[in-house]
């Protein structure tokens, strides 16, 4: 039914101390941390049916999912790097030019949408990736992101929440569309700064499903790597376009798919990637279809809310602090 990477009883006993804190961690990802699965233990012997964080720290940002990636020799790395050098220098040139020009947007006029991404041709899809549970043999959902016949981005596929009966995962059924991480030239990580805006604007044609919007704000240390802010994208369905405006204040914090007890507003100056996902749980298995014209940002002076979720003072040791 489930599996836990428990390598030895020593770690398991250590683990008990951590149980309180992490009993709710992750359901989307299986347990494969650090890439060293040894045994699959029957459920009866272990307490937890959800995977646990086994160590005090995480080694890989991918949470173990990169274990199948072939290691490339140093030499090859250098050669690959040189190949990309030209492109990166061009990118860098642009950056320098932009800095010298120093032509910022002076006025963010209310009601005007600044388009962040628009999908009209194949090139526009370059910086996006799609993932689904099937990628790691953890389910049967599949999806694609390409240009629709009408000439817009089309995120479509099929979600299936049927769990493979190999005992590794407890739940399945997701498809995900995500932008590549914000980065500068020479593969340096950076963040998008959306501070002047307070609304996310998406022009879309949906199918009546609810999608999950994910805005990642990756932090420096492992505990913040998976910080992600979510909100629901309700689609109307039907042949007409729909413009969804979602205030950033409505986004709530979660990590590895678990809503956090201690919430905080989305740090708009530290956006590392943006994504949309769809899940099949609760009987929503089947095809989905989300056509996106553009994703933009807007400043709406009427919306003054900073964060929509009130926090209560809780008795000590009841929520993870």
């Amino acid at each position: 039914m489930n599996s836990i990477k428990g390598s030895c009883s020593l770690i398991a006993s250590l683990n008990k101390a951590l149980l309180r804190r992490y009993d709710h961690i992750t359901y989307l990802r299986p347990t494969l941390l650090n890439g060293n699965v040894s045994v699959v233990l029957p459920a009866a012997q272990l307490i937890h049916t959800t995977p646990n964080l086994q160590l005090f720290w995480e080694r890989h940002r991918k949470g173990g999912y990169n274990r199948n990636v072939k290691r490339v020799s140093q030499k090859e790395l250098i050669l690959n790097g040189l190949k990309e050098l030209k492109k990166e220098i061009l990118l860098w040139k642009e950056e320098v030019k932009e800095k010298l020009e120093c032509d910022p947007i002076l006025v963010y006029r209310p009601g005007e949408t600044d388009v962040m991404w628009q999908f009209t041709e194949e090139n526009d899809l370059e910086n996006w990736k799609v993932t689904s549970d099937r990628d790691h043999n953890e389910g049967q959902s599949f999806c694609s992101f390409d240009i629709s016949p009408a000439g817009h981005g089309l995120f479509s596929g099929n979600v299936q929440s049927k769990v493979p009966i190999d005992g590794r995962v407890k739940r399945a059924g997701y498809c995900n569309l995500q932008s590549l991480r914000a980065r500068k030239s020479f593969k340096r990580d950076t963040y998008w700064d959306w501070t002047p805006y307070n609304m996310l604007v998406i022009k879309l044609r949906g199918d009546g499903r609810s999608y999950l919007l994910n805005i990642a704000s990756e932090g420096l240390y492992d505990v913040w790597w998976n910080d992600m802010f979510h909100y629901v994208l309700y689609t109307r369905g039907g042949p007409h376009w729909q413009i969804a405006k979602i205030p950033f204040s409505k986004f709530f914090l979660s990590s590895k798919g678990r809503v956090q007890d201690k919430q905080a507003p989305l740090p708009l100056n530290r956006i590392s990637s943006f994504g949309v996902s769809v899940a099949g749980r609760g009987g929503h298995d089947g095809p989905f279809n989300l056509e996106i014209d553009y994703i933009g940002l807007e400043f709406d002076p009427v919306h003054t809310e900073e964060f929509a979720y009130e926090m209560y003072k809780q008795p000590k040791y009841t929520v993870a602090q």
Binding site: K16, I47, R236, W241, G282, P287
Partner: protein
């Protein structure tokens, strides 16, 4: 979430044992009714033989809420110690959907009541800190998570059960608190709120779907037709059609030389139900690129306005406004869902539209542009 605050402060005051007294213990061994006891014998028999509890649920032929609850009662009455209750609950959770009770909060409560009261409540700091009775706690956390997955909101009775079982420091209780914080916040968030659960009747669903799609235009009319209104119809089914006066006007302006097309079937989801719909579309009118403004937008020396009635700028009259139905890939004239989704029923739809205020449809050729349901074909059967 006032209740959170209230409950927590209340908890502080209330002694745990006291709170237990408030709770009516329904499924305890000595409270089960006589009526249920009549068929206890053969059900006990089920448990006696089985080592694994899982198959006992599978063996039930008539799968419904009553038999499910009866199974729970049988387990409770089996012996005083309620051995293997964790395993029982896991097995029961797994079979909820087949019994059709996965959206029933009462059933979840019944399962939760299998756990003995008071025993698992931590009595000191260490017990509270190091997950007292971890297996049991995890089991109920899983139960709550299954509720969450199925969109079932817990209620206050469940809170009482949890408090009596695990106390206010128990992890299931905290999980319950989280659920009660987040679930109501999103319960009514959808701009097109649907009843929960959505009806099973296809016609009702179709009406809902077409109404929902028509919310783009406030003037839209949703009509329910029946194919027997058309003489030549073969199918005997309903048609739910949505069209607004503006669309009718656009259709009247459509040139008869250009054909219209019925596109579909497209899919629309209403919660966990999906439905096929069709769109009557035509080629869009070409709009001239907005004429270069010879009018200076900053020149206020010559402001003109409508002096009679409500003053508005003259500009509005000059500009031709593109309607919402005119999209870049064509003009949407109407949407519909039919009971059979066949070409014949769609043909009846066109005839009915023609009869009901769109005489021009008699002259315009209509093509079918059917889309094979791509997703279905690609669907891989489970290995």
């Amino acid at each position: 979430m006032h209740f959170l605050r209230n409950q927590l402060s209340k908890l502080g005051r209330q002694s745990l044992i006291l709170s237990e007294r408030y709770y009516p213990i329904r499924y305890d061994s000595n409270t089960s009714t006589d009526e249920k006891k009549t068929d206890d014998k053969n059900k006990n028999f089920v448990f006696e033989k089985q080592l694994t509890l899982q198959s006992s649920f599978e063996n039930i032929t008539e799968k419904n809420r009553d038999t499910y609850l009866a199974m729970v009662d049988v387990f409770l009455d089996r012996d005083v110690h309620r051995r293997n209750h964790v395993e029982f609950i896991y097995a029961a959770l797994k079979h909820m959907e087949t019994f059709g009770v996965h959206r029933d909060v009462e059933v979840y409560k019944a399962l939760m009541n299998v756990m003995p009261k008071e025993k698992f409540i931590p009595r000191n700091m260490f017990q509270a800190e190091f997950m007292h009775y971890p297996k049991q706690q995890q089991c109920i956390i899983d139960l709550l998570e299954q509720m969450e997955d199925n969109g079932v909101m817990p209620d206050f009775e469940m809170q009482a059960i949890l408090l009596n079982t695990f106390g206010r420091r128990g992890h299931p209780t905290i999980k319950y608190m989280r659920m009660m914080y987040w679930m109501p916040k999103f319960k009514n968030q959808s701009p097109w709120l649907l009843p929960n659960p959505v009806p099973n009747d296809a016609l009702e669903l179709a009406k809902m779907a077409v109404k929902r799609m028509c919310t783009v235009d406030l003037h839209s009319n949703v009509d329910v037709y029946h194919t027997n209104e058309v003489e030549s119809a073969i199918d005997d089914t309903w048609i739910v059609s949505g069209m607004s006066p503006e669309q009718m006007q656009l259709l009247a302006q459509h040139s008869p030389e250009k054909s219209l097309r019925i596109e579909g079937p497209h899919l629309i989801w209403l919660r966990n139900q999906s439905l096929n719909y069709f769109v009557l579309k035509g080629d869009g009118k070409e709009y001239p690129m907005s004429t270069d403004d010879d009018e200076d937008m900053d020149d206020v020396s010559n402001l003109t306005f409508n002096k009679y009635g409500w003053a508005t700028s003259k500009q509005k009259q000059v500009d031709v406004k593109r309607s919402v139905h005119e999209q870049r890939d064509g003009v949407i004239y109407a949407v519909c869902a039919t009971g059979t989704s066949t070409k014949d029923s769609l043909l009846s739809w066109i005839r009915l539209l023609e009869k009901n205020g769109n005489p021009c449809l008699g002259q315009i050729p209509v093509l079918f542009k059917f889309r094979s349901n791509v997703a279905e074909n690609l669907l891989v059967t489970s290995s």
